[in-house]
Symmetry: C2
Subunit: 156 residues, 2 copies
Amino acid sequence: MNMEIERKFLVTSEDYKKESYKSERITQAYLNSHPERTVRVRTKGENAYLTIKGKSSESGLSRFEWEKEISIDDARELMKLAEPDVIDKTRYLIKQGTHIFEVDHFHGRNEGLIIAEVELNSEEEKFEKPAWLGKEVTRDKRYYNSLLSKKAYKTW
Amino acid sequence: MNMEIERKFLVTSEDYKKESYKSERITQAYLNSHPERTVRVRTKGENAYLTIKGKSSESGLSRFEWEKEISIDDARELMKLAEPDVIDKTRYLIKQGTHIFEVDHFHGRNEGLIIAEVELNSEEEKFEKPAWLGKEVTRDKRYYNSLLSKKAYKTW
């Protein structure tokens, strides 16, 4: 178990793609999409993970997280039990100063949505902002992947 | 992942206690109590498990099950995120012929309820019935632990 501290932003241009040193396709589905006890099955390239997240702290920046790697076969079986709406996205990794930004370009029913996240060691930690970083949406629950799986961006 | 095939019965006397070769206290809580995608955190003595179950087959006897052992510390942290109602029971193990019956004596809000379960290799498999075995309740969802956590036996 650990505390995940993260800030989330919209993205204003596709320049992040040029700056990216790695990209991977991610598919994920939910065994529970409730924001207070999210249970997620994810495949990322050839790997798979089961992740459980608690509710957000009052500031909206921190969340309890527990994650275990599982086999890709188990992930595929668990996805069959999951809620029907699957999140499909490509994740780009970009170094900026001492931080790594993860930029998620969504596909399918969330196409058009691009979100950048940066993980921090404390809620007060400073970080350099890339030029393509737009409005902060950390506290806006609509951008939770668990909620995007139910209420897709294209339906907003 | 495997298919769990199980039949469930009420218990008509306390004689199972005399026949039992082992007993353990079990506490469990749910990260999802939905019968189609149950996510359970369990402590059993000094061990702990995360278990995911799918919906029942049409016969009501079989259910997909995925289980991983986790640390007791992780289990305690995950229980804090779980739905508030915890199941507390003592499990007695009893050998009968070639099978093992698990008899769960519930405590707290489910006190008064005693359920015996036997795991089978096929839905048609025969088994010897102990003298204290009562009515079969395999198909009655009220006896699912996930539902007993929400709608306790004492409130029926």
